[in-house]
Symmetry: C2
Subunit: 271 residues, 2 copies
């Protein structure tokens, strides 16, 4: 089964475009998890149990696991094995390196950490992207227009007097997706409505991973309006902190479920 | 001691600008290391012992360790602790993420994996770079013009009708370095001579990390000519495969030393 089929199947089964970002910060660990020596795995298990019927994907961000050293990566290796096998895993590492190193990252992400898809940073060009697309049953979301405050600093520069950098990148990603065999999608922040609309116009068929609807304050309605592809695949709309840390008290798992459910209900109503 | 002081001190002590890239690929493990269950640490120990008086830095690339799963990261955690404390460690992860995630990466790199410096990918803008520069005694090398074949695809685009993207990035990096307190340098491939000269012209004071002189075939003489800063700091000239895998037989450590020494002698002659 391809990444796209697996994603579509999870979206339909759970009637959801929500992706929960597993951005675990041990300084924020809820009270009931604090007694554990290693807190990432037990916390993630509770979050997954509380939300697995409400999501279309989970997205662990490598940075938060590296922050805990090798112990964090051991936890990541266990967490991805705890995620039900019919829910896609997007390993958010924003990888981008020369060919032989990109191959190493792809091997790590897809073969060791069981990722169905990764995120990629495109600054180094096509040969930093293609090793990830050699895996026919996996996918890669390339950064197009990100959700952070300074995203436009380079991404919105006018290039060759013709278009903006994120537009050029979008055209490249269409070509990468056509060449395959893996699926190539785009990361487009919900905090940049104009760019979101423009990227959908330029790439009607590409899957979107849309961060920024939770703590970053992006627009969920716009994410849904522009998120869908021409073939009816919905966006992967990510929320991390607003779900994970909805409460830090004994009710944290229920609160995470309630926060996820609220987002999912808004998505279903908007359909 | 700042990263720059530590780097300068190692360059002077070992009379070397050579950085050995610890890009360990277990499929290439030399014969005497193959009996080990976990091969990365014993191999790295032999390479470090054989080259530690010839280098100004070691540069482990995160991708090769992730390729081995959590076991690879456990090995990385041990390898960085084996490197003598007066030799700078550059963790090559080409990180680039939103602010709170960049903080997590910086915590991981600097506090867990003992890095003196990291590499960063700038596509997401200033707020993805600055969290790494909050550490006054550490450094960050931002990708400017990389050594891979498709590097120019985005990096050499003309932006705002005024300059090329890598030139714009170079100006940004000068500002980031001034704002500090950490040191900001640039990654400039030895495979792109014109760009190397131009970037040095634009940023006379910034430290350069120069990959591509080994297996990638870049020009060592040019790396040295343009590598030095106005304050006399030498470049960090990286070679990985050509040193690590100079031999895969019983003489691999001697062969690695010979390959490193040959590069260092060329550097000393060119001075």
């Amino acid at each position: 089964m391809s990444f796209i089929e697996k994603l579509r199947s999870a979206q339909e089964r759970n009637r959801s475009y929500l992706c929960v970002g597993l951005d675990i910060v041990t300084a924020n660990t809820p009270l009931p998890i604090q007694p554990y020596d290693e807190q990432m795995l037990p916390f993630a298990r509770e979050i997954i149990d509380a939300t697995k019927d409400l999501v279309c994907a989970y997205k662990p961000n490598l940075g938060f696991f590296l922050a805990e050293g090798a112990a964090g990566i051991v936890a990541l290796e266990r967490i991805v094995r705890y995620i039900p096998s019919d829910i896609p895993i997007i390993l958010d590492g924003k990888f981008g390196d020369i060919g032989n190193t990109a191959e190493a990252y792809a091997r790590g992400a897809f073969e060791q950490f069981m990722a169905d898809a990764v995120t990629l940073s495109p600054y180094m060009g096509s040969d930093s992207v293609k090793p990830f697309l050699k895996y026919a049953d996996r996918g890669a979301f390339v950064l197009a227009r990100t959700s952070n405050a300074n995203a436009g600093e380079f991404q919105n520069l006018s290039v060759q007097g013709e278009e903006l950098l994120f537009e050029k990148l979008t055209r490249s990603a269409r070509r990468w997706n056509e060449e395959g065999p893996g699926a190539c999608g785009l990361v487009v922040g919900a905090t940049a409505p104009q760019e979101l609309a423009r990227i959908r116009e330029l790439a009607p068929e590409l899957p979107f991973l849309i961060p920024g609807v939770g703590a970053q304050g992006g627009d969920l309605a716009l994410a849904l309006r522009y998120g869908r592809t021409t073939t009816g695949l919905g966006p992967v709309v990510n929320a991390s902190r607003s779900v994970l840390y909805a409460s830090r008290k004994v009710d944290f798992a229920d609160a995470a479920r309630a926060a996820a459910l609220e987002l999912v209900m808004k998505m279903r109503e908007a359909k």
